[in-house]
Protein backbone atom coordinates (compact mmCIF):
# COMPACT_ATOMS: atom_id res chain seq x y z
CA UNK A 1 0.00 0.00 0.00
CA UNK A 2 1.17 3.53 -0.68
CA UNK A 3 1.95 5.86 2.17
CA UNK A 4 -0.50 8.62 1.28
CA UNK A 5 -3.54 9.33 3.37
CA UNK A 6 -6.09 6.55 2.84
CA UNK A 7 -9.56 7.71 1.76
CA UNK A 8 -11.37 5.30 4.03
CA UNK A 9 -10.02 3.50 7.02
CA UNK A 10 -11.21 1.26 9.83
CA UNK A 11 -9.16 0.79 12.99
CA UNK A 12 -9.74 -1.93 15.56
CA UNK A 13 -13.35 -1.96 14.58
CA UNK A 14 -15.91 -4.07 16.42
CA UNK A 15 -19.66 -3.96 15.90
CA UNK A 16 -22.52 -5.64 17.71
CA UNK A 17 -26.22 -6.27 17.12
CA UNK A 18 -27.29 -6.59 20.74
CA UNK A 19 -25.20 -9.54 21.96
CA UNK A 20 -24.21 -10.71 18.52
CA UNK A 21 -20.64 -9.81 17.65
CA UNK A 22 -21.06 -8.95 13.97
CA UNK A 23 -17.66 -7.49 13.12
CA UNK A 24 -14.47 -8.54 14.86
CA UNK A 25 -11.43 -6.36 15.19
CA UNK A 26 -11.25 -5.11 11.64
CA UNK A 27 -8.41 -2.99 10.28
CA UNK A 28 -8.43 -1.86 6.69
CA UNK A 29 -7.34 1.17 4.63
CA UNK A 30 -8.74 2.00 1.20
CA UNK A 31 -7.09 4.32 -1.27
CA UNK A 32 -8.66 7.18 -3.13
CA UNK A 33 -10.15 6.58 -6.60
CA UNK A 34 -9.99 2.85 -6.37
CA UNK A 35 -12.64 0.19 -6.37
CA UNK A 36 -12.61 -2.10 -3.38
CA UNK A 37 -14.82 -5.17 -3.40
CA UNK A 38 -16.10 -6.79 -0.21
CA UNK A 39 -16.77 -10.47 -0.72
CA UNK A 40 -17.79 -13.30 1.56
CA UNK A 41 -20.67 -15.66 2.30
CA UNK A 42 -24.06 -14.32 3.43
CA UNK A 43 -24.05 -13.13 7.03
CA UNK A 44 -20.29 -12.56 7.12
CA UNK A 45 -20.75 -8.90 8.01
CA UNK A 46 -19.68 -7.29 4.74
CA UNK A 47 -22.89 -5.30 4.29
CA UNK A 48 -22.87 -4.28 7.93
CA UNK A 49 -19.31 -3.10 7.46
CA UNK A 50 -20.17 -1.18 4.30
CA UNK A 51 -23.03 0.60 6.03
CA UNK A 52 -20.69 1.85 8.75
CA UNK A 53 -19.06 4.25 6.30
CA UNK A 54 -22.18 6.39 5.92
CA UNK A 55 -23.60 5.48 9.34
CA UNK A 56 -26.66 3.74 7.95
CA UNK A 57 -26.63 1.41 10.93
CA UNK A 58 -27.41 4.28 13.29
CA UNK A 59 -31.14 3.61 13.10
CA UNK A 60 -30.92 -0.04 14.08
CA UNK A 61 -31.99 -0.65 17.67
CA UNK A 62 -29.26 -2.30 19.71
CA UNK A 63 -26.47 -1.68 17.20
CA UNK A 64 -23.15 -0.69 18.75
CA UNK A 65 -19.78 0.28 17.25
CA UNK A 66 -16.34 0.29 18.88
CA UNK A 67 -13.13 1.48 17.26
CA UNK A 68 -12.73 4.08 14.55
CA UNK A 69 -13.98 4.65 11.03
CA UNK A 70 -12.07 7.39 9.26
CA UNK A 71 -12.89 9.39 6.16
CA UNK A 72 -9.88 11.43 4.97
CA UNK A 73 -8.37 10.81 8.38
CA UNK A 74 -11.36 12.12 10.36
CA UNK A 75 -13.33 9.85 12.67
CA UNK A 76 -16.92 9.89 11.41
CA UNK A 77 -18.33 8.49 14.66
CA UNK A 78 -17.23 11.49 16.74
CA UNK A 79 -20.06 13.27 18.52
CA UNK A 80 -19.66 16.51 16.57
CA UNK A 81 -19.96 14.85 13.16
CA UNK A 82 -23.22 15.73 11.43
CA UNK A 83 -24.62 12.67 9.73
CA UNK A 84 -26.27 14.64 6.92
CA UNK A 85 -22.94 16.33 6.10
CA UNK A 86 -21.21 12.95 6.12
CA UNK A 87 -23.74 11.50 3.71
CA UNK A 88 -23.15 14.34 1.27
CA UNK A 89 -19.61 13.02 0.98
CA UNK A 90 -20.42 9.33 1.11
CA UNK A 91 -23.19 8.29 -1.24
CA UNK A 92 -24.87 4.91 -1.31
CA UNK A 93 -26.52 2.60 -3.82
CA UNK A 94 -28.62 -0.24 -2.50
CA UNK A 95 -29.15 -3.85 -3.46
CA UNK A 96 -32.65 -3.42 -4.79
CA UNK A 97 -33.22 -0.33 -6.93
CA UNK A 98 -35.19 2.02 -4.69
CA UNK A 99 -36.33 4.99 -6.77
CA UNK A 100 -38.70 7.31 -4.96
CA UNK A 101 -42.30 7.31 -6.24
CA UNK A 102 -41.66 10.62 -7.97
CA UNK A 103 -40.59 11.77 -11.41
CA UNK A 104 -37.15 10.91 -12.79
CA UNK A 105 -36.12 14.54 -12.43
CA UNK A 106 -37.29 14.78 -8.82
CA UNK A 107 -35.42 11.59 -7.98
CA UNK A 108 -32.14 12.99 -9.24
CA UNK A 109 -32.45 16.39 -7.57
CA UNK A 110 -33.86 15.08 -4.28
CA UNK A 111 -30.51 15.41 -2.52
CA UNK A 112 -30.25 19.02 -3.64
CA UNK A 113 -33.82 19.84 -2.73
CA UNK A 114 -33.38 18.70 0.83
CA UNK A 115 -30.31 20.93 1.04
CA UNK A 116 -32.69 23.77 0.22
CA UNK A 117 -31.44 24.40 -3.33
CA UNK A 118 -34.30 25.87 -5.36
CA UNK A 119 -32.52 27.49 -8.31
CA UNK A 120 -34.04 25.84 -11.36
CA UNK A 121 -30.96 26.25 -13.55
CA UNK A 122 -28.76 24.60 -10.93
CA UNK A 123 -31.21 21.72 -10.51
CA UNK A 124 -31.53 21.13 -14.25
CA UNK A 125 -27.83 21.37 -14.84
CA UNK A 126 -27.10 18.92 -12.01
CA UNK A 127 -29.78 16.51 -13.20
CA UNK A 128 -28.31 16.39 -16.70
CA UNK A 129 -24.72 16.03 -15.49
CA UNK A 130 -25.64 13.26 -13.03
CA UNK A 131 -27.75 11.35 -15.53
CA UNK A 132 -24.97 11.59 -18.12
CA UNK A 133 -22.43 10.35 -15.58
CA UNK A 134 -24.71 7.46 -14.75
CA UNK A 135 -25.06 6.63 -18.47
CA UNK A 136 -28.80 7.12 -18.34
CA UNK A 137 -29.26 10.54 -19.96
CA UNK A 138 -29.83 9.37 -23.53
CA UNK A 139 -32.51 6.93 -22.43
CA UNK A 140 -34.53 9.34 -20.30
CA UNK A 141 -33.81 12.87 -21.51
CA UNK A 142 -37.24 13.20 -23.13
CA UNK A 143 -39.08 11.68 -20.20
CA UNK A 144 -37.68 13.51 -17.20
CA UNK A 145 -41.16 14.17 -15.88
CA UNK A 146 -42.29 10.57 -16.09
CA UNK A 147 -42.53 8.44 -12.97
CA UNK A 148 -39.26 6.76 -12.07
CA UNK A 149 -41.24 3.61 -11.28
CA UNK A 150 -41.95 3.16 -14.98
CA UNK A 151 -38.26 2.53 -15.74
CA UNK A 152 -36.79 -0.95 -16.05
CA UNK A 153 -34.86 -2.42 -13.12
CA UNK A 154 -31.49 -1.67 -14.66
CA UNK A 155 -32.51 1.89 -15.50
CA UNK A 156 -33.86 2.34 -12.00
CA UNK A 157 -30.54 1.29 -10.54
CA UNK A 158 -28.64 3.70 -12.78
CA UNK A 159 -31.12 6.38 -11.70
CA UNK A 160 -30.24 5.58 -8.08
CA UNK A 161 -26.57 5.97 -9.00
CA UNK A 162 -27.33 9.31 -10.70
CA UNK A 163 -29.21 10.36 -7.59
CA UNK A 164 -26.16 9.59 -5.48
CA UNK A 165 -23.81 11.42 -7.91
CA UNK A 166 -26.00 14.53 -7.88
CA UNK A 167 -24.85 15.59 -4.43
CA UNK A 168 -21.18 15.28 -5.51
CA UNK A 169 -19.89 12.75 -3.01
CA UNK A 170 -16.28 11.62 -3.01
CA UNK A 171 -17.10 8.05 -1.98
CA UNK A 172 -19.83 5.77 -3.31
CA UNK A 173 -20.86 2.70 -1.37
CA UNK A 174 -22.61 -0.01 -3.38
CA UNK A 175 -24.40 -2.84 -1.66
CA UNK A 176 -24.71 -5.63 -4.24
CA UNK A 177 -25.86 -3.08 -6.82
CA UNK A 178 -26.41 -5.60 -9.60
CA UNK A 179 -27.74 -8.61 -7.74
CA UNK A 180 -31.36 -7.86 -8.67
CA UNK A 181 -30.57 -7.18 -12.34
CA UNK A 182 -30.34 -9.17 -15.55
CA UNK A 183 -26.90 -9.82 -17.15
CA UNK A 184 -27.11 -6.96 -19.66
CA UNK A 185 -28.07 -4.41 -17.01
CA UNK A 186 -25.35 -5.86 -14.80
CA UNK A 187 -22.77 -5.33 -17.52
CA UNK A 188 -23.88 -1.71 -17.86
CA UNK A 189 -23.51 -1.13 -14.12
CA UNK A 190 -20.06 -2.70 -14.17
CA UNK A 191 -18.96 -0.50 -17.07
CA UNK A 192 -20.28 2.45 -15.14
CA UNK A 193 -18.30 1.53 -12.05
CA UNK A 194 -15.19 1.35 -14.22
CA UNK A 195 -15.89 4.88 -15.48
CA UNK A 196 -16.77 6.29 -12.10
CA UNK A 197 -13.56 5.28 -10.41
CA UNK A 198 -11.77 8.09 -12.26
CA UNK A 199 -13.58 10.51 -9.98
CA UNK A 200 -14.83 8.54 -7.01
CA UNK A 201 -13.68 6.10 -4.41
CA UNK A 202 -15.95 3.10 -4.70
CA UNK A 203 -16.64 0.30 -2.27
CA UNK A 204 -18.81 -2.49 -3.57
CA UNK A 205 -20.28 -5.48 -1.80
CA UNK A 206 -20.84 -8.39 -4.13
CA UNK A 207 -21.73 -12.06 -4.09
CA UNK A 208 -20.44 -12.49 -7.58
CA UNK A 209 -16.76 -13.51 -7.75
CA UNK A 210 -16.44 -12.70 -11.45
CA UNK A 211 -17.88 -9.29 -10.79
CA UNK A 212 -15.37 -8.63 -8.02
CA UNK A 213 -12.64 -9.79 -10.37
CA UNK A 214 -13.82 -7.56 -13.19
CA UNK A 215 -14.51 -4.29 -11.45
CA UNK A 216 -12.29 -4.06 -8.38
CA UNK A 217 -8.70 -3.02 -7.76
CA UNK A 218 -8.67 -4.42 -4.24
CA UNK A 219 -10.67 -7.19 -2.66
CA UNK A 220 -11.48 -7.83 0.98
CA UNK A 221 -12.69 -11.26 2.02
CA UNK A 222 -14.90 -11.43 5.10
CA UNK A 223 -15.79 -14.57 6.97
CA UNK A 224 -17.84 -14.87 10.17
CA UNK A 225 -17.34 -11.21 11.03
CA UNK A 226 -13.61 -11.23 10.43
CA UNK A 227 -11.60 -9.63 7.68
CA UNK A 228 -9.69 -12.69 6.56
CA UNK A 229 -7.71 -11.25 3.70
CA UNK A 230 -7.30 -7.91 1.95
CA UNK A 231 -5.14 -7.50 -1.12
CA UNK A 232 -4.91 -6.42 -4.73
CA UNK A 233 -7.69 -8.24 -6.55
CA UNK A 234 -5.31 -9.84 -9.02
CA UNK A 235 -3.07 -11.17 -6.26
CA UNK A 236 -6.00 -12.36 -4.23
CA UNK A 237 -7.63 -14.24 -7.07
CA UNK A 238 -4.45 -15.88 -8.29
CA UNK A 239 -2.65 -16.63 -5.07
CA UNK A 240 -4.79 -16.24 -1.96
CA UNK A 241 -2.82 -16.55 1.28
CA UNK A 242 -5.55 -17.93 3.48
CA UNK A 243 -7.11 -21.30 2.93
CA UNK A 244 -10.60 -19.97 3.64
CA UNK A 245 -10.19 -17.35 0.92
CA UNK A 246 -9.03 -19.98 -1.51
CA UNK A 247 -11.98 -22.21 -0.72
CA UNK A 248 -14.43 -19.36 -1.10
CA UNK A 249 -13.14 -17.99 -4.39
CA UNK A 250 -12.90 -21.39 -5.92
CA UNK A 251 -16.52 -22.00 -4.96
CA UNK A 252 -16.02 -24.70 -2.38
CA UNK A 253 -18.40 -22.96 0.04
CA UNK A 254 -20.57 -19.84 0.32
Amino acid sequence: MSKKQPKLEARDLNAYYGDFHALKNINIAMEEKNVTAFIGPSGCGKSTFLRLFNRMNDYIDGFKVEGNILLDGNDIYQKDVRVDELRKQVGMVFQKPNPFPKTIFENVVYGLRIQGIKNKAVLEETAERSLRDAALWDEVKDNLNKSALALSGGQQQRLCIARALAISPSVILMDEPASALDPISTAKIEELIYELKNDYTIVIVTHNMQQAGRVSDYTAFFYMGELVEFNKTKTMFTSPKDERTQNYITGRFG
Binding site: F94, I114, R163
Partner: protein, 285 residues
Protein backbone atom coordinates in the same frame (compact mmCIF):
# COMPACT_ATOMS: atom_id res chain seq x y z
CA UNK B 1 -67.78 -42.43 -0.33
CA UNK B 2 -64.07 -41.98 -0.87
CA UNK B 3 -62.02 -39.45 1.00
CA UNK B 4 -61.65 -37.15 -1.96
CA UNK B 5 -65.40 -37.18 -2.53
CA UNK B 6 -65.89 -36.27 1.12
CA UNK B 7 -63.42 -33.42 0.78
CA UNK B 8 -65.16 -32.12 -2.29
CA UNK B 9 -68.49 -32.28 -0.51
CA UNK B 10 -67.09 -30.36 2.46
CA UNK B 11 -65.68 -27.80 0.08
CA UNK B 12 -69.05 -27.38 -1.59
CA UNK B 13 -70.85 -27.21 1.77
CA UNK B 14 -68.61 -24.45 3.02
CA UNK B 15 -69.05 -22.52 -0.18
CA UNK B 16 -72.82 -22.56 0.23
CA UNK B 17 -72.53 -21.64 3.89
CA UNK B 18 -70.17 -18.78 2.99
CA UNK B 19 -72.57 -17.39 0.43
CA UNK B 20 -75.35 -17.54 2.99
CA UNK B 21 -73.26 -15.63 5.54
CA UNK B 22 -72.28 -13.02 3.01
CA UNK B 23 -75.84 -12.43 1.96
CA UNK B 24 -77.29 -12.15 5.47
CA UNK B 25 -75.61 -8.78 5.92
CA UNK B 26 -76.55 -7.59 2.47
CA UNK B 27 -80.16 -8.73 2.76
CA UNK B 28 -80.61 -7.01 6.12
CA UNK B 29 -79.13 -3.81 4.70
CA UNK B 30 -81.38 -4.15 1.65
CA UNK B 31 -84.55 -4.62 3.69
CA UNK B 32 -83.59 -1.71 5.90
CA UNK B 33 -82.92 0.58 2.95
CA UNK B 34 -86.11 -0.46 1.20
CA UNK B 35 -88.18 0.15 4.32
CA UNK B 36 -86.60 3.54 5.02
CA UNK B 37 -86.88 4.74 1.46
CA UNK B 38 -90.49 3.58 1.19
CA UNK B 39 -91.28 5.46 4.39
CA UNK B 40 -89.16 8.57 3.99
CA UNK B 41 -88.50 9.31 0.32
CA UNK B 42 -91.83 11.02 -0.23
CA UNK B 43 -91.08 13.40 2.62
CA UNK B 44 -87.83 14.67 1.13
CA UNK B 45 -88.17 17.92 -0.75
CA UNK B 46 -86.48 21.28 -0.78
CA UNK B 47 -88.60 22.59 2.10
CA UNK B 48 -87.60 19.64 4.27
CA UNK B 49 -83.94 20.50 3.76
CA UNK B 50 -84.25 24.22 4.41
CA UNK B 51 -86.91 24.36 7.15
CA UNK B 52 -86.24 24.85 10.83
CA UNK B 53 -87.55 22.28 13.31
CA UNK B 54 -91.19 22.61 14.30
CA UNK B 55 -93.76 21.09 16.63
CA UNK B 56 -95.86 20.30 13.60
CA UNK B 57 -94.37 17.36 11.73
CA UNK B 58 -95.46 18.54 8.29
CA UNK B 59 -93.63 21.84 8.70
CA UNK B 60 -90.53 20.52 10.45
CA UNK B 61 -87.26 20.45 8.50
CA UNK B 62 -83.68 19.38 9.07
CA UNK B 63 -81.82 22.58 8.23
CA UNK B 64 -80.29 22.99 11.67
CA UNK B 65 -79.49 19.30 11.85
CA UNK B 66 -77.57 18.94 8.61
CA UNK B 67 -75.84 22.28 8.97
CA UNK B 68 -74.82 21.16 12.48
CA UNK B 69 -73.58 17.86 11.08
CA UNK B 70 -71.43 19.64 8.48
CA UNK B 71 -70.04 21.98 11.15
CA UNK B 72 -69.21 19.05 13.39
CA UNK B 73 -67.56 17.22 10.47
CA UNK B 74 -65.36 20.19 9.60
CA UNK B 75 -64.36 21.02 13.15
CA UNK B 76 -63.67 17.40 14.00
CA UNK B 77 -61.48 17.07 10.91
CA UNK B 78 -59.53 20.22 11.77
CA UNK B 79 -58.92 18.97 15.31
CA UNK B 80 -58.43 15.25 14.81
CA UNK B 81 -56.46 15.22 11.54
CA UNK B 82 -53.23 16.95 12.69
CA UNK B 83 -53.34 15.35 16.14
CA UNK B 84 -53.95 11.82 14.92
CA UNK B 85 -51.51 11.92 12.02
CA UNK B 86 -48.76 13.50 14.14
CA UNK B 87 -49.23 10.90 16.86
CA UNK B 88 -49.18 8.11 14.29
CA UNK B 89 -46.01 9.45 12.66
CA UNK B 90 -44.34 9.84 16.04
CA UNK B 91 -45.16 6.31 17.17
CA UNK B 92 -44.13 4.72 13.90
CA UNK B 93 -41.07 6.77 12.91
CA UNK B 94 -39.63 8.33 16.03
CA UNK B 95 -40.59 6.40 19.17
CA UNK B 96 -37.96 3.92 20.29
CA UNK B 97 -39.36 0.45 20.83
CA UNK B 98 -39.34 0.74 24.62
CA UNK B 99 -41.74 -0.61 27.23
CA UNK B 100 -43.39 2.82 27.40
CA UNK B 101 -43.99 2.82 23.64
CA UNK B 102 -45.46 -0.66 23.93
CA UNK B 103 -47.72 0.46 26.76
CA UNK B 104 -48.88 3.47 24.73
CA UNK B 105 -49.57 1.27 21.71
CA UNK B 106 -51.70 -1.22 23.59
CA UNK B 107 -53.72 1.53 25.21
CA UNK B 108 -54.36 3.37 21.98
CA UNK B 109 -55.83 0.16 20.62
CA UNK B 110 -57.84 -0.17 23.85
CA UNK B 111 -59.17 3.36 23.45
CA UNK B 112 -60.56 2.45 20.05
CA UNK B 113 -62.84 -0.01 21.85
CA UNK B 114 -64.19 2.34 24.54
CA UNK B 115 -67.96 2.89 24.11
CA UNK B 116 -68.76 6.30 22.65
CA UNK B 117 -71.00 7.29 25.55
CA UNK B 118 -67.97 7.17 27.85
CA UNK B 119 -66.29 9.72 25.61
CA UNK B 120 -69.43 11.79 25.98
CA UNK B 121 -69.08 11.77 29.76
CA UNK B 122 -65.40 12.70 29.45
CA UNK B 123 -66.29 15.53 27.08
CA UNK B 124 -69.04 16.73 29.41
CA UNK B 125 -66.60 17.03 32.31
CA UNK B 126 -63.55 18.40 30.49
CA UNK B 127 -64.84 20.48 27.61
CA UNK B 128 -68.32 21.53 28.73
CA UNK B 129 -67.62 22.10 32.42
CA UNK B 130 -63.88 22.57 33.07
CA UNK B 131 -63.11 24.45 29.86
CA UNK B 132 -66.52 26.19 30.05
CA UNK B 133 -67.26 25.64 26.37
CA UNK B 134 -70.88 24.82 27.15
CA UNK B 135 -72.90 22.54 24.89
CA UNK B 136 -71.23 24.12 21.87
CA UNK B 137 -70.15 22.84 18.48
CA UNK B 138 -66.55 23.09 19.66
CA UNK B 139 -67.22 20.92 22.71
CA UNK B 140 -68.99 18.39 20.47
CA UNK B 141 -66.19 18.35 17.89
CA UNK B 142 -63.55 17.96 20.59
CA UNK B 143 -65.47 15.04 22.08
CA UNK B 144 -65.85 13.32 18.72
CA UNK B 145 -62.17 13.99 17.98
CA UNK B 146 -61.26 12.03 21.12
CA UNK B 147 -63.53 9.29 19.91
CA UNK B 148 -61.91 8.93 16.48
CA UNK B 149 -58.30 9.77 17.38
CA UNK B 150 -57.39 6.14 18.13
CA UNK B 151 -58.79 5.06 14.76
CA UNK B 152 -56.83 7.75 12.94
CA UNK B 153 -53.63 6.92 14.82
CA UNK B 154 -53.94 3.23 14.06
CA UNK B 155 -54.73 3.71 10.35
CA UNK B 156 -51.96 6.31 9.99
CA UNK B 157 -49.48 3.83 11.43
CA UNK B 158 -50.70 1.08 9.12
CA UNK B 159 -50.39 3.35 6.09
CA UNK B 160 -46.90 4.48 7.11
CA UNK B 161 -45.80 0.91 7.76
CA UNK B 162 -46.69 0.02 4.18
CA UNK B 163 -43.99 2.40 2.88
CA UNK B 164 -40.96 0.18 2.31
CA UNK B 165 -37.84 0.54 4.41
CA UNK B 166 -35.82 0.98 1.20
CA UNK B 167 -37.47 4.33 0.47
CA UNK B 168 -36.45 5.66 3.87
CA UNK B 169 -32.93 4.28 3.43
CA UNK B 170 -32.66 5.95 0.04
CA UNK B 171 -33.68 9.27 1.53
CA UNK B 172 -31.38 9.01 4.55
CA UNK B 173 -28.46 8.01 2.33
CA UNK B 174 -28.84 11.28 0.43
CA UNK B 175 -28.43 13.25 3.64
CA UNK B 176 -32.09 13.79 4.51
CA UNK B 177 -33.05 14.17 8.14
CA UNK B 178 -35.78 12.11 9.70
CA UNK B 179 -38.28 14.92 9.37
CA UNK B 180 -37.35 15.53 5.72
CA UNK B 181 -37.76 11.83 5.03
CA UNK B 182 -41.16 11.79 6.69
CA UNK B 183 -42.30 14.95 4.94
CA UNK B 184 -40.94 14.30 1.43
CA UNK B 185 -41.22 10.52 1.20
CA UNK B 186 -43.25 8.75 3.86
CA UNK B 187 -46.25 11.06 4.09
CA UNK B 188 -46.77 11.56 0.33
CA UNK B 189 -46.47 7.82 -0.25
CA UNK B 190 -48.91 6.94 2.51
CA UNK B 191 -51.28 9.87 2.16
CA UNK B 192 -53.97 7.92 0.34
CA UNK B 193 -54.09 5.35 3.13
CA UNK B 194 -54.10 8.00 5.83
CA UNK B 195 -56.89 9.92 4.13
CA UNK B 196 -58.95 6.76 3.73
CA UNK B 197 -58.61 6.09 7.45
CA UNK B 198 -59.61 9.62 8.37
CA UNK B 199 -62.66 9.58 6.15
CA UNK B 200 -63.82 6.24 7.55
CA UNK B 201 -63.29 7.59 11.06
CA UNK B 202 -65.32 10.69 10.19
CA UNK B 203 -68.12 8.62 8.76
CA UNK B 204 -68.27 6.95 12.14
CA UNK B 205 -68.32 10.32 13.93
CA UNK B 206 -71.12 11.55 11.69
CA UNK B 207 -73.44 8.82 12.90
CA UNK B 208 -72.82 9.35 16.62
CA UNK B 209 -75.70 10.63 18.74
CA UNK B 210 -74.91 9.29 22.23
CA UNK B 211 -71.80 11.29 23.15
CA UNK B 212 -73.31 14.48 21.79
CA UNK B 213 -76.53 14.00 23.74
CA UNK B 214 -74.43 13.46 26.86
CA UNK B 215 -72.60 16.75 26.41
CA UNK B 216 -75.97 18.43 26.07
CA UNK B 217 -76.55 18.96 22.36
CA UNK B 218 -80.21 19.82 21.90
CA UNK B 219 -82.82 18.43 19.59
CA UNK B 220 -84.58 21.72 19.21
CA UNK B 221 -82.31 24.49 17.98
CA UNK B 222 -84.27 27.23 16.25
CA UNK B 223 -81.27 28.71 14.43
CA UNK B 224 -78.32 27.48 12.39
CA UNK B 225 -75.02 27.85 14.23
CA UNK B 226 -72.78 30.64 12.99
CA UNK B 227 -69.72 30.11 15.20
CA UNK B 228 -68.03 27.13 16.87
CA UNK B 229 -69.28 28.35 20.23
CA UNK B 230 -72.97 28.16 19.28
CA UNK B 231 -75.32 25.46 20.47
CA UNK B 232 -76.20 22.88 17.88
CA UNK B 233 -77.94 19.71 16.88
CA UNK B 234 -76.94 17.02 14.41
CA UNK B 235 -78.85 14.59 12.20
CA UNK B 236 -78.58 11.54 14.49
CA UNK B 237 -79.96 13.54 17.43
CA UNK B 238 -82.79 14.87 15.30
CA UNK B 239 -83.57 11.34 14.16
CA UNK B 240 -83.43 10.02 17.72
CA UNK B 241 -85.77 12.77 18.83
CA UNK B 242 -88.29 12.20 16.07
CA UNK B 243 -88.40 8.44 16.48
CA UNK B 244 -89.27 8.87 20.15
CA UNK B 245 -92.41 10.91 19.32
CA UNK B 246 -95.73 9.06 19.28
CA UNK B 247 -97.09 10.72 16.10
CA UNK B 248 -96.80 8.73 12.89
CA UNK B 249 -95.83 11.82 10.87
CA UNK B 250 -92.66 12.30 12.88
CA UNK B 251 -91.60 8.73 12.10
CA UNK B 252 -91.85 9.64 8.43
CA UNK B 253 -89.68 12.68 9.13
CA UNK B 254 -87.15 10.44 10.88
CA UNK B 255 -87.02 8.09 7.91
CA UNK B 256 -86.41 11.01 5.59
CA UNK B 257 -83.63 12.33 7.82
CA UNK B 258 -82.09 8.85 7.92
CA UNK B 259 -81.94 8.87 4.12
CA UNK B 260 -80.05 12.18 4.21
CA UNK B 261 -77.66 10.88 6.88
CA UNK B 262 -77.06 7.71 4.88
CA UNK B 263 -76.33 9.75 1.77
CA UNK B 264 -73.68 11.71 3.70
CA UNK B 265 -72.15 8.50 5.09
CA UNK B 266 -72.15 6.72 1.73
CA UNK B 267 -70.58 9.75 0.10
CA UNK B 268 -67.78 9.75 2.67
CA UNK B 269 -67.22 6.02 2.21
CA UNK B 270 -67.30 6.46 -1.55
CA UNK B 271 -64.57 9.08 -1.39
CA UNK B 272 -62.52 6.78 0.82
CA UNK B 273 -62.82 3.87 -1.62
CA UNK B 274 -61.98 6.14 -4.55
CA UNK B 275 -58.86 7.47 -2.83
CA UNK B 276 -57.72 4.00 -1.89
CA UNK B 277 -58.09 2.69 -5.43
CA UNK B 278 -56.31 5.70 -6.90
CA UNK B 279 -53.43 5.23 -4.47
CA UNK B 280 -53.14 1.54 -5.31
CA UNK B 281 -53.01 2.31 -9.00
CA UNK B 282 -50.46 5.07 -8.61
CA UNK B 283 -47.88 3.30 -6.47
CA UNK B 284 -46.74 -0.26 -6.86
CA UNK B 285 -43.75 -1.13 -4.77
Amino acid sequence: MTNSEKNRLKDKAFQVFGIFCTFIGLVVLGIFLFDIILEGAKRIDWDFLVSLPSRRASRAGILTAWVGTIWILLLTTIIAFPLGVSAGVYLEEYAKKTKLANFLEINISNLAGVPSIIYGLLGLEIFVRQMRLGSSLLAGALTLSLLILPIIIVTTREAIKAVPRSIRDGSFALGASKWQTVWHQVLPASFGGILTGIILALSRAVGEAAPLIVIGALAYVPFTPSSPLDEFTVLPIQIFNWTSRPQEAFLTNAAAAIIILLIITFMLNGIAVYLRNRQQKKIKW
